[in-house]
């Protein structure tokens, strides 16, 4: 029997560009990161939890947060993975070279985990609890990519 022919309609090259407001908390975070290489979090006055990335509301307490706290820049790996399968990079539309490390970093002074790349130069050193430092971009633009990656310093 001959193979069935399937008629498919493709979505084509049209895209829906979108502009996301980073809000007043994101503005502070990215300005400090870009201009001063500082990481800023917000502390809940009720439960004391320090949130990085910062956002306006502590969901647990349902209160507005206004107390800015500097955290890091050093921290520890909360958990991590090493990507070995090439996914499409949403920034470029191309496959990202593998392997690369992806982790959750707990900055000194923060209570939440902050996600970013982890250098896989020495895979054996990448462990839960390992100390890390950020490596900053030489050409900061005020985005999450102003940090290139974190690297283990143990």
């Amino acid at each position: 029997m001959a193979d069935k022919e399937h008629i498919i309609i493709e979505s084509g090259d049209a895209v829906q560009p979108f502009k996301y407001s980073v809000g007043m908390h994101g503005s502070k975070f990215f300005t400090e990161l870009r201009d001063n290489r500082r990481f800023m979090g917000l502390k809940c006055h009720k439960c004391g939890k320090v949130y990085v990335p910062p956002r306006g509301v502590c969901g647990e307490c349902f209160v507005e947060m206004k107390d800015w706290i500097e955290v890091g820049p050093l921290g520890v790996i909360g958990t991590f993975t090493i990507l070995r399968f090439a996914f499409i990079d949403p920034e470029t539309g191309h496959q990202k070279p593998v392997p690369y490390g992806y982790g959750f970093i707990k900055f000194d002074g923060a209570d939440t985990l902050f996600q970013h790349y982890i250098s896989v130069e020495d895979e054996k050193k990448i462990k839960v609890g390992a100390r890390v430092e950020p490596v900053f971009s030489k050409n900061p633009k005020g985005s999450i990519r102003d940090i290139e990656y974190f690297k283990v310093i143990d």
């Binding site: 990335p53 958990t79 499409i88 949403p90 839960v128 999450i144």
Partner: protein
């Protein structure tokens, strides 16, 4: 509170790519199967809830596009964006609201038509997370690492979930990936994102499932044996993944405890006969079981090794093959619900478990289990 029962279920076969069918074609099949199962016609249905995701469907207001094929013409139809168990929750509340008696709930998706990692990437925060390429597999790999680190669960134990569920799927004709595997097969499969191998991950799938939920006053009016909803609850956790203890699922513990309390269950380990839990990834089955109190903390891997979660074990888990053997996102929780309904009616065929009076259904919505929906179903009212 008034009571409700599930009186009909219908599902398409789960497949890698239903190239020959539109969303509406899948809905037509599942809805008619559910009506036939219940012994109803579309005129016996007084309202409809459809469940879908606009991103997965590649269109806005995706729910309404399946309305005609779901028999929604001239009826009150409403939509839920999330797992099918959440659509069913809304459907149940409508059936006991006093305004309606019989709700048809559907859920559909086709993972085959898009690039899954870009779809799940788009669920993450666009300001801090999305640009780094975070997607569901990456997120769950980190959750797997956190869970295995805390509980000392081994890669071999995690791999056994894949062996068990793909093995169970051999008894389920609707399943996409029935496979006879060994632990070694899983551990030797391609490493996707440490510690997750390819066979630790559920596949990309297409499918549609439908359930019919009736008020107690009409539950026995049609031909099918009603399966009673004894308890149900859902709870949500923080949106940002990094705000949570990734090795835990606090909102699942809360949802399960509320569902147990509603159903009058005091000792879930003894009173629940079988469970279908959201095994999008192997480690999740073990983690969810512990967080629901169906296994003691950090013991699920060991209990699995002893065979306790096999079809003939103390608590059969994912006897249908689970989502590892076919994972149509959104529809997934309704497939699990239908599998438990069939078990409690004694209609599960090859994957029927011996003692099936009380069953648990678990649905997940959001990233790495941001929110959980737990149902306790029972053969008896």
């Amino acid at each position: 509170m008034d009571r409700a029962a599930i009186i009909g279920v219908g599902m398409t076969k789960i497949e890698k790519a239903k190239v020959g069918e539109t969303f509406a074609d899948m809905a037509w099949e599942a809805v008619n199967k559910a009506l036939a199962d219940a012994g109803m016609t579309i005129d016996d249905i007084d309202n409809v809830v459809t469940t879908s995701s606009d991103f997965w469907d590649g269109r806005t207001i995706s729910c309404m596009a399946v309305g005609d094929a779901s028999g929604a013409a001239h009826k009150n139809v409403s939509c839920v964006e999330g797992d099918g168990t959440y659509g069913a929750f809304y459907g149940m509340t409508r059936s006991i609201s006093g305004s309606y008696k019989t709700t048809l709930v559907t859920g559909h998706s086709k993972g085959s038509q898009s690039v899954s990692s870009l779809i799940t990437n788009a669920a993450f925060d666009p300001i801090y997370e999305r640009g780094l390429g975070m997607d569901m597999v990456t997120a769950c790999a980190m959750q797997a690492r956190a869970y295995m680190h805390r509980t000392k669960t081994t890669p071999e134990q995690v791999a056994m979930v894949s062996v068990k569920n793909h093995g169970n799927a051999q008894k389920n004709p609707l399943s996409q990936l029935p496979m006879k595997l060994t632990v070694n097969d899983v551990l030797k499969s391609e490493m996707v994102a440490d510690p997750l191998h390819k066979l630790d991950c559920s596949p990309v799938s297409d499918g549609c499932a439908a359930v019919i939920i009736a008020h107690e006053s009409v539950a026995a009016k049609f031909k099918q044996k009603p399966v009673w909803i004894k308890g149900v609850s859902f709870c949500a956790d923080s949106f940002f993944f990094g705000d949570r203890d990734l090795s835990r699922a606090k909102s699942l513990t809360e949802a399960a405890q509320k569902a147990y309390a509603m159903a009058g269950i005091k000792d879930p380990k003894k009173e629940i006969d079988l469970a279908e839990v959201y095994d999008a990834f192997t480690y999740q089955e073990l983690m969810w079981l512990e967080e629901m109190g169906l296994a003691d903390d950090a013991t699920a891997g060991k209990l699995l090794e002893k065979g306790e979660f096999n079809i003939d074990g103390r608590l059969p888990v994912n006897a249908s093959g689970g989502l590892l053997s076919g994972h149509p996102v959104i529809a997934a929780g309704l497939y699990s619900m239908a599998a438990v309904v069939k078990q409690l009616r004694g209609d599960a065929g090859g994957y029927q478990v011996k003692k099936a009076k009380t069953g648990l259904v678990h649905g997940v919505n959001g990233l790495g289990g941001q929110s959980h929906c737990v149902w306790i179903l029972d053969k008896d009212k």
